[in-house]
Amino acid sequence: MSYVDAVDTEHWAGIGALAFAAFALGLPFQRPSLFLVALVGVGFAAYARFGDAPAADLTVERELSESSPSPDAEVTVTVTVENAGSATIPDLRLIDGVPPGLSVSDGAARLGTALRPGKRATFSYTVTATRGSHEWEPLTAVVRNASGSRERVVEVDAGTTMRCLPTLEASSDLPLRGLTTPYSGRVATDVAGSGLEFHSTREYRRGDPLSRVDWNRYARSGELSTVSFREERAATVVLLVDSREAAYRAPDEDTPNAVERSVEAAGEAFSALLSTGDRVGIASYGPEACWLAPATGEQHRATARRLLADHPSFSVSPSEEPFYPSIALRRLRRRLPADAQIVLFSPATDDYIATVAERLNAYGHQLTLISPDPTTDDTATRRLARLERDTRLRRLRSHGIRVIDWGERPLAVELARATRRWSR
């Protein structure tokens, strides 16, 4: 709990004027009724001066109807506040600390009440769940004395967290082949092995995995044979999400912001790449750095799902931690495997991230930029920002970086168009 000193609200300021006016009128004309009115004025003036806002000792309990909901679910929050001290709180105004990533859809996260020692008050409201790990901020209690002339603010923490994990699709139809195939990561070698492209069949040997048996041939001729594939080296891809404060931009208040879109796209890309056998990792460029080294497998998929859902760098609202760009870039560079390709997800609304992209590309990591577009053009300044972003993307393209400008169309559509463009 944290306290602030009590302040004067000046609620009763000027009440003395009643007493003086009553005297001024009553004295020369000798009206006893007016003297009594003056006494009322004096009485209220005294009432305002005596008594301070009580030092409130409160305990807060918060209950969520569902602490791990799915996205867009409605969760009811019930807050119970108890006066754990020995003083009566005559005027208690409660405001709950709803996390910035959530909005209240029904009811109010507030209450105006009074509590005797040991008594409780309860109120509830409904929030709409959004992806991520949401922590409640302390409940704010504004405490006043009975006359309302003094006020004090108390903050009480209850440590409530709600985790909302969206499902990561088992597979995704994001056409990412175009992204990685032309790169050195995916090289078709002529060695027969267990890579992915069909090469030849040979006689079945004991111990060959049943998934590689050519069942069509068996159905036709009754012979068991094993298919072997042309070995392709799997690519190593790192999905890098720009999570700086400058990336949290949205065209209006109803559209998800660029970081949210980036995280969603990174999730789909992760699934798509993993299912084609590539080694995929996830990283963030911003405060609260995140790093998941490229790997494959179900366990890896589970880790990635959890990371994308509730790692602080991927939250729906920006972090308040400080960020040191050059240090972060150095650290990222150290961690990147030498042959890693990078898919950068960033709205590209400032010049700095464009220089980061060019630098990473120059270090030998083939970089593709998938850029959700948060710009709009309804005012002149916003139109200028849109033009600046267009210019920035064009400059990146001219320096050999593949850019996908992701507007309102689904990402799969944009990728298909881009792949066609690149293969021309």
């Binding site: 003395g16 009553a22 006893p32 003297f35 209220f44 001066r49 105004r93 105006g112």
Partner: protein, 164 residues
Amino acid sequence: MSEITREPSRFGVAVAAGFALLSVAATAVVVPTGGAVSGLGLVVLLAGLAVASRRLITNGGGVLVLGALYAGYTGAPPLLVLVGALTGVLAWDAASNAVSVGEQLGKETDTMRGEIVHVVSSVLVGSLAVAAGYAVYLAAAGGQPIASVFLLVVGAVALVNALR
């Protein structure tokens, strides 16, 4: 839904309007002119509540009380004058608190309990002052010598100054 509406609650408006009506009634019963003045105060107070303006509320409350003072000046019975002035002050207090609650908690929030305690507390204090004064008045019947009145005035002026 999301954001709250920072306006006075219905309950607060009702309580303030109720007190203001009482004040007008108490004054108008004896002194129609005073009642008219108080009526104007009532209108200003309600307007202040509608636009959540503290200044209008204070002005309205002031005019309400002015009507009661005028009634006192014209020699109305003390009890009525007292009721008129007291309910005028209570109306102003309730309205001002309703605006404060509206700004901090919003119209949609359940604030009845908090507001009731505040109003009841003010009523008790005011009634106590009225009762004490009226008791003195009844006990010390008859015309007052200037001297005592003078002392009372000076003393109360000093008290109010000290309490400001």
